[in-house]
């Protein structure tokens, strides 16, 4: 057993840290947050340096590293700034399905602009009536001639207002014996007629502009189907394994970033004649925060390491996802507590880290859903 990152992984981690420290400016972040703007310039720069899609194959603009290296970057980016970090970590959300199951021409056409240019995309799975339960979808794609006609509504779609395209999970065969066997993923470009998005203001994660997607008689060529018909549900489940581990990594980054700020404050802030970091209650808070972060990091790094070995360990992935997300929320909450009034004002960042962290417990499976998955692995189907 070797718990040490390779020298190359350490270099990647350091490069990501230096880039984030040098370019994720606090005032810029507050400005972007306030106006719900995606950090486009930073994304472009990050793509140029190879940080975006580091785990994608080289021929599609990636760097051929694995999930673990991608997690190290997500962690460092979110540590410096939760908002910019999340925006950059999920600017390619959905494209992993094309990479895993799509044709070569689809990968070149849709993935290359993400890793090399300034394109961003969305994955559209959730519907107003189907969140954790995506067994039967109301979004349909019906073949007509050489096209699909797509109709339906999707909700809570990350990046949707700025995305160049969305990977949309549709019901292509409503009569399949099991509804999930009748689902397919279809790429829908945002400039197609009938593709409309609307804005949803939310508690945090504001630099990724989330919204509703309404598809009204949208015609897309049949060549936009990813993989085979009827495979959509299974493609999504496979891809979510990867994304859930990445969410764990963003959670660790947010937790670490909150901790850094709390530690720094505890060492400098003086009350009753001594540093608050000398008071046992604050010391214990810091000790607990650091312990939780380390535990979440070990879980997530192991989950990513297993993915890179070709093991999709659903139990471990669920553990890493809910625990890291919970850790982010708890540590950010304690950071606010340590900073007191200063923690509640915008310019000290930890309140934003807290708001951003809260989303991680909901997206890609609530913590309840993940505990169900873990329990299923432990005691069987309930």
């Amino acid at each position: 057993m070797d718990f040490e990152l390779t020298t190359e992984q350490q270099d990647i981690q350091r490069a990501a840290r230096e880039f984030a420290n040098g370019t994720f400016d606090k005032d810029l972040a507050m400005e972007l947050e306030h106006h719900h703007r995606f950090p486009r310039e930073i994304k472009k720069e990050a793509a140029k340096l190879g940080f975006i899609g580091i785990h994608f194959p080289e021929e599609y603009g990636g760097q051929a590293y694995g999930n673990l290296e991608n997690c190290l970057i997500a962690e460092e980016f979110c540590r410096r700034d939760s908002g910019i970090g999340l925006a950059l970590s999920f600017c390619c959300f959905g494209s992993g399905i094309i990479l895993r199951y799509g044709r070569d021409d689809q990968k070149k056409r849709y993935v290359l602009p993400l890793t090399q240019g300034d394109a961003i995309c969305s994955g559209a799975f959730t519907e107003p009536d189907h969140g954790s339960d995506i067994n039967l979808l109301f979004t349909t794609a019906v073949k007509e001639g050489k096209e699909y006609i797509v109709n339906g509504n999707k909700i809570f779609i990350t990046n949707i207002q700025e995305a160049d395209f969305a990977v949309v999970l549709c019901q292509t065969n409503p009569e399949a014996i099991s509804p999930r066997q009748g689902q397919s993923t279809i790429i829908v470009e945002s400039n197609r007629k009938g593709f409309e998005s609307s804005f949803l203001d939310k508690m945090g994660w504001k630099m990724s502009v989330t919204g509703m997607l309404s598809l009204n008689e949208v015609r897309v060529p049949q060549e936009n189907l990813v993989g085979e018909e009827g495979q959509g549900f299974y493609q999504a489940v496979g891809y979510f394994n990867e994304i859930r581990v990445e969410i764990g990594a963003t959670g660790i980054g947010i937790a670490q970033g909150s901790f850094d700020r709390a530690l720094d404050y505890a060492k400098k802030r003086e009350q009753f004649g001594s540093r608050i970091g000398d008071f046992q209650i604050i010391r214990h808070k810091l000790a607990e925060m650091a312990t939780r972060i380390e535990a979440a990091r070990l879980l997530t790094h192991k989950a990513a390491w297993e993915l890179d070995k070709g093991i999709a360990n659903r139990k471990l992935i669920s553990m890493s996802k809910w625990y890291s997300a919970r850790t982010a929320v708890e540590v950010a909450d304690e950071a606010i507590e340590i900073l007191g009034g200063h923690g509640y004002v915008l310019e000290n960042e930890v309140e934003r880290f807290y708001r951003d962290a809260r989303a991680l417990e909901i997206v890609e499976g609530t913590r309840e859903i993940h505990k169900n998955a873990i329990a299923r692995a432990l005691v069987g189907k309930g």
Binding site: A15, K48, F51
Partner: protein, 263 residues
Amino acid sequence: MDIIVCVKKVPDTREAELIITKDGKDIEKGELVCDINEWDRYAVEEAIRLKEELGGSVTAVAVTPDEDEDLLRKCLAMGADRAIMVKDESFRGSDAHVIATALHHIIKDLPFDLVFTGVQAEDDGYAQVGGILAGFLKVPHATLVTQIEVLERKVQVHRELEEALMEVVELDMPAVCTIQTGINEPRYVSIMGIRKAAKKEMKTLNTSDLGLTEEELGDSASKVKIKGLSLPPSGKGAEILKGSTGEIATKVASILKSKGVLA
């Protein structure tokens, strides 16, 4: 254009609480994050830019008592072509003369047109290695360099003097330049750079490979010996302003006005 850049790893002490070691001659570095000396980072960038423009090679060189491979990997990832590290415990406590001696032993057998060092190191601030090295190599040198233009077998450099006064000098090549911060904007390390660095040559030598004797190394050979380090006493007269940025700015403005600095 073959360029050799000498680099050093230093602890980042900007936000740190400094603790003096028991022998009183150093600071505790255990908890400090170490990275490339700021001036050296500009020197590496300048060397790579010149290579990219004119062709040739960049060799990064470090003389160190510690395992500083990561420092050289960073130089390679930025774009240096090869790296040489001479690691020996006896370099601990060495003065600039000893370090320059070791660098001279490495460089004298390499082809080079220019040697860059940083103007000074963030940790000890001596600003001597470049000058002594030029003496050993018997080549001209310029300090505080903020601009470089390569001419036919000559190099024209700008030197930054006090009060923003600029001196332009011409040196015959080969030459040594000590590079000032701000000469360029050092690049971030890219993932592509890290991948390439993994395939580049990194040579690790010891002092006997260089033919250096014990008499030439370490504390005993150093002509400048550290007697002690101390932290500044907390003086009176300093007023620490507290409050929000706005409140502090208002207080600063009123103090400056009261002292007659501002009208």
